[in-house]
C-alpha cells in the first residue's frame, strides 16, 4: 500500500511539473506578445533616406530599440511589446521629431526628416480621426452622414485591449482542445481503475498501473483545465458589449464543468483512498464517475456551443 501511495505521489509530482512547464510556455507566449514596427523614412521632397537611425522608445519603461533604414529608406524594428512608443529618426543633420505610436498589432509608421531649423511634422499613418476629405469638392464627406465623433474616433487603447483579449482567448482555445485529450483518456480509463464487487465480500481491486494511470490522467486534466480557464477568466473585458450567440451557452456551461472539475478530483482522491483500504468506493466518493461524466459532457458541449453552427467540408480547398 505504501508503494502504491509513493508511486501515486511521484506520478502526481511529475505531472504537476509537466503542467507547470506547459503553463509557463503558454503564459510566456500569451503575455509577452511582440510586434513589428516598420515604415519608410523620407525627406521633405519624398526621397528615401538610407542609413537613417530610427528609434522607438517605450513610454512605459523607457526601453529603446533602434534600426537603420536600408537603401530604399525602409526600416523594421522587431520584438516590440504592445503599448505606446515615441518614434523618431535621425540622418546626419536631418531629424524627424518623436511621434507617439500605439502598438497593438504590426504597424507601419512613415517618418519625414527635415533640417532641424526647418522641421515639419512627421506623418504617422495612425489616424486620430478617420476622415478623408473627398477629392471632388461636391462629393459627400463622412461628416455629412451625421455620425457622432465617438463613432468615428480611433481608439488605440481599445484596439490594444482587443488584441490582448484575442491573444489570451486563442491560447484558451488551444489549451482547451489539448485538455480534451487527457480528459477523454481519463473518462475511458475510469472503469479500469474501479474496484469491483460488493463491500463485505471479495473485492476485485484494480491493478496499480491502471489506478496510477487513471489518477495521472485526472491530475493532468485538472491542471490543464484550470490553466485553460485562467486564460478566459483573466482575458480583458470589453465594456458595453452584451453577450449573445454561442458564447452565452459556452459561458453558461462553465458553471457546470467548472464545479465539476473541482469536485471530480476530490471525489477521485476519496475513492482512491477507499480502494487503497481494500474497500469499494462508497458514499459520496462513489459518485466520482458520475460527476466526471457530467463534467466531461458539459465540457464537450461548451466546445460545441462556441463552434456552432458547424459545417464540415474539409474537402474544399482553402
Amino acid at each position: 500500500m505504501l508503494t502504491q501511495k509513493r508511486k501515486f505521489a511521484v506520478t502526481m509530482r511529475v505531472l504537476l511539473l509537466c503542467s507547470l512547464l506547459a503553463t509557463l510556455v503558454f503564459a510566456q507566449k500569451g503575455f509577452a506578445e511582440t510586434y513589428t514596427l516598420s515604415g519608410k523614412v523620407s525627406d521633405s521632397a519624398g526621397h528615401a533616406v538610407p542609413s537613417a537611425t530610427v528609434t522607438a522608445k517605450s513610454v512605459a519603461n523607457g526601453k529603446t530599440l533602434t534600426a537603420e533604414t536600408g537603401s530604399d529608406g525602409t526600416y523594421s524594428i522587431h520584438d516590440l511589446a504592445g503599448g505606446d512608443y515615441e518614434v523618431s529618426a535621425v540622418a546626419g543633420e536631418l531629424q524627424a521629431p518623436p511621434i507617439k505610436v500605439t502598438l497593438a498589432a504590426a504597424q507601419t509608421t512613415d517618418l519625414v526628416v527635415t533640417p532641424a531649423a526647418n522641421r515639419v511634422e512627421s506623418l504617422p499613418n495612425a489616424p486620430q480621426q478617420q476622415q478623408t476629405p473627398p477629392a471632388n469638392p461636391n462629393a459627400p464627406s463622412l461628416s455629412d452622414l451625421g455620425f457622432t465623433p465617438q463613432q468615428t474616433q480611433a481608439n488605440a487603447q481599445l484596439q490594444a485591449t482587443l488584441a490582448k483579449r484575442t491573444e489570451m482567448l486563442k491560447i484558451h482555445q488551444r489549451l482547451g482542445l489539448i485538455t480534451t485529450i487527457p480528459m477523454a483518456a481519463a473518462v475511458f480509463t475510469g472503469p479500469l481503475a474501479k474496484a469491483k464487487g460488493k463491500n463485505g465480500q471479495i473485492i476485485k481491486e484494480p491493478t496499480d498501473a491502471n489506478l496510477d494511470f487513471h489518477a495521472a490522467l485526472g491530475g493532468l486534466t485538472t491542471a490543464l483545465y484550470f490553466t485553460t480557464a485562467s486564460y478566459a477568466i483573466f482575458a480583458p473585458r470589453i465594456p458595453n458589449n452584451p453577450k449573445h450567440g454561442g458564447i452565452k451557452w459556452h459561458e453558461a456551461l462553465a458553471w457546470v464543468h467548472g464545479p465539476g472539475m473541482v469536485l471530480t478530483p476530490v471525489l477521485g482522491y476519496m475513492a482512491y483512498k477507499q480502494e487503497n483500504s481494500g474497500e469499494k468506493a462508497h458514499g459520496i466518493a462513489a459518485q466520482h464517475g458520475t460527476v466526471a461524466y457530467i463534467t466531461a459532457g458539459a465540457y464537450g458541449a461548451a466546445i460545441v456551443a462556441v463552434s456552432w453552427p458547424i459545417h464540415i467540408k474539409f474537402w474544399e480547398k482553402q
Partner: protein, 183 residues
C-alpha cells in the same frame, strides 16, 4: 435713376436666381440598407450584417458622387465573441468606419445594371474595385441597389482568423442591399 433702379432689381433677381440654379444638384439619401460580409471556413459559414450604414449621393453637372459608411462594430454575426474577434482582426477600434466611395455619370443611374468603380476604406487600408455590377430597381421615389463587392482579406492586410489552426478563406464578399431616396 430708372436705369440704376432697374439694374439694381436685375442684380437682386440674379442673386436670388443664381443659388436656385446652383442648387439644381440631385441628392440621394440612403433610406435603409443591409451590408453583409460572408466568411467561409471548413467548419463554418458565417454572415455578419450591418444595418447601420448611412449614405449620401450628390449628382452635379452630370456626375454623381456617392459615399456610404458604417461602423465596423455594427456588423453582427450572431455571436459576440466572433464579432469582437472580427473587430480586433480588422483593426476596427483604430479604424472604426468602413467607407465606400463611388463616382459615375448621372446617366448611368437609370440603367438596370449599374457598373461602378469603388474605393473602399477599411482596416486602415484603401482598396479599389473596378466595374462592380449592381442591380437597380425603381420603387416609386426610391431606388433599390443590390450587388456584391468582391472583397478579399488580403486587400486590407487582414490576418485571416483561424479556427482549429485552419484560417478562413481569403474571400469575404460583401453583399449590398440599399434603398436610396431621391431628394
Amino acid at each position: 435713376m430708372k436705369p440704376i433702379l432697374l439694374l439694381g432689381l436685375a442684380l437682386v433677381a440674379a442673386s436670388i436666381a443664381a443659388p436656385a440654379f446652383a442648387q439644381a444638384d440631385t441628392q440621394y439619401v440612403l433610406q435603409q440598407s443591409s451590408l453583409s460580409y460572408h466568411m467561409s471556413h471548413p467548419m463554418h459559414e458565417v454572415d455578419g450584417t450591418s444595418h447601420a450604414a448611412r449614405g449620401k449621393g450628390i449628382c452635379h453637372a452630370g456626375q454623381c458622387d456617392f459615399l456610404i459608411a458604417t461602423p465596423v462594430k455594427s456588423f453582427d454575426s450572431g455571436d459576440t465573441n466572433r464579432d469582437l474577434h472580427m473587430l480586433e482582426a480588422t483593426r476596427g477600434a483604430q479604424f472604426p468606419m468602413v467607407q465606400v466611395r463611388t463616382h459615375f455619370a448621372e446617366s448611368d443611374i437609370n440603367t438596370p445594371t449599374l457598373y461602378a468603380d469603388l474605393e473602399v476604406q477599411f482596416a486602415g487600408q484603401t482598396a479599389h474595385y473596378t466595374h462592380v455590377s449592381f442591380q437597380r430597381t425603381q420603387q416609386g421615389n426610391a431606388v433599390r441597389i443590390t450587388g456584391t463587392i468582391p472583397a478579399l482579406c488580403s486587400d486590407f492586410k487582414i490576418d485571416r482568423p483561424s479556427f482549429l489552426t485552419v484560417p478562413i478563406k481569403n474571400e469575404i464578399p460583401v453583399r449590398v442591399d440599399m434603398t436610396w431616396l431621391k431628394q
